[in-house]
């Protein structure tokens, strides 16, 4: 008895690419190598730096034990950092909502307004908060007010985009139902769109707060108030034990805000 074994069609392990695809991949690889070569630390330098860091008289050793002598001031500056973040986020969110309504498809009263609102949101989002901080230091001077304004503008850009997208994605059924009974545009938005988008609004707002708390530390480095100023001074004066205290407290603050925000998200959404 003879049996014929049917051969399944064979497929190549790697599909042959067109020459153009090879060129694109090669170019990408070259860009990565070029970027690493231009900016990545040389291994020898990195090894020396790490050795200095961990040396008996290095920075790490000088950080311990953390200096708690100025704990009250550090805690107060930490509170100020939190205040900056909360104030900046609340102001930013309050301004982001009307701007998002103007930018949302199907809700904006006019296409020109929609394009203008989108452009403004994109502009606020693309300029980093550190740049805004520098701008506002020029406007209102050194201190937390500049930080609050920088966070506010940054959050208008951040929340404006997400708020607009959340509203665009809401079910059109309730909107149509209210429009069909003669409700005004504002009535439809307030009654049907915002309640439906609320979970997304809350998630975005809490994430904005987390981001602002982390960001407000960095804003202090350029003089826009908060704990960042003290951290910079501690490093500048080689008070590494003081710097460690500040870093640990920042860690506690950020972790606390993240945990609180996760708890609120679970409870409300």
């Amino acid at each position: 008895m003879t049996t014929e074994v049917a051969h399944a069609p064979t497929v190549p392990r790697i599909e042959l690419k067109s020459p153009l695809e090879y060129i694109v991949w090669l170019l990408l690889l070259l860009i990565v190598v070029w970027s690493l070569q231009g900016t990545a630390p040389p291994l020898e330098g990195l090894a020396k730096g790490l050795a200095r860091l961990f040396a008996p008289s290095g920075m790490l050793a000088q950080m311990f034990p953390p200096d708690l002598s100025r704990l009250d001031r550090v805690i107060w500056k930490l509170v100020e950092t939190l205040q900056m973040a909360i104030a900046g986020v609340v102001l930013g969110l309050a301004m982001a909502l009307p701007l998002a309504i103007l930018a949302a498809d199907g809700l904006s009263p006019h296409p020109i307004l929609r394009v203008a609102a989108r452009a403004l949101i994109a502009f606020f989002r693309t300029v980093p908060d550190l740049i805004w901080a520098i701008v506002f230091i020029i406007v209102v001077g050194l201190g937390p007010a500049a930080g609050v304004l920088a966070i506010m503008v940054d959050k208008i850009g951040f929340a404006g985009r997400f708020f607009a997208e959340a509203m665009e994605e809401t079910d059109k059924g309730p909107r149509d139902a209210l429009a069909a009974l003669g409700a005004t545009r504002m009535g439809v938005i307030a009654s049907a769109v915002i309640p439906a988008a609320m979970p997304s609004f809350i998630a975005t707002s809490l994430f904005a707060l987390e981001k602002a708390v982390r960001g407000s530390v960095a804003l202090g480095l350029v003089g826009a108030g908060g704990i960042g100023v003290d951290l910079k001074v501690a490093f500048d004066l080689f008070d590494y034990d003081q710097a460690l205290t500040i870093i640990l407290l920042i860690f506690v603050l950020v972790l606390g805000v993240e945990q609180a925000s996760a708890w609120i998200r679970r409870r409300i959404i």
Partner: protein
Amino acid sequence: MLCGVDLPVPYGQSVALIGANGAGKSTLIKSLVGLIEPDAGRISVLGQTIQGLSGRLLRRVRSRVGFVWQKHNLVPRASVLTNVLHGAQARHSGPRTWSQSLAAQEAREEAMRCLEAVGLPEVALQRADQLSGGQSQRVALARVLMQRPEIVLADEPDASLDPQAGDEVMRLLSRMTRDKGLTLVFVSHRLHHALEHADRIVGLGQGRILIDQPAATARPDELRRFFAEPRQ
């Protein structure tokens, strides 16, 4: 597509629109409140031509016409009472009609009476997305009542419901429009709804009116051809 549809409806009449899928029933009923713009012809509702109206005037006409959708289209995260109160947006704009917590006491009382009329006062403070399909559609009817319309249009209000809940919603809709002497135009895929709740039955096919007769003289055998449901 609709073509050559001439359908004057006198005040207080109940009209059933029947026809197979794609016959143009929903298109017709939606174009009555300007949700679909016709390419040609004239639509007049409550003595007002719909085409070419400004947004404000169209809203004024819409405020006098209650619309019941295939799906209830309630705001899911809002309370039942808030959803009913939204019906008052036909008469008033502003925050007092946005939510039951902001509403005036009289408006809240009226909304509660509307909920009583559909037999659901006990769910007033529940979230709308916690209701069953039948309950949701009854709340949508309460919202229409809150609107105080002169005409009610219903686009297959029983479509997403089981037969029992569908019958209940249709009975309720029919009773509330008759009690208040309102004009009712409804689309239905169930023959017995057309026969029980309409004064007049209009059969559509391929965008044209194929039959238009009083429900009292309608012959079920003749009407069955308009329905997708099998012969019984």
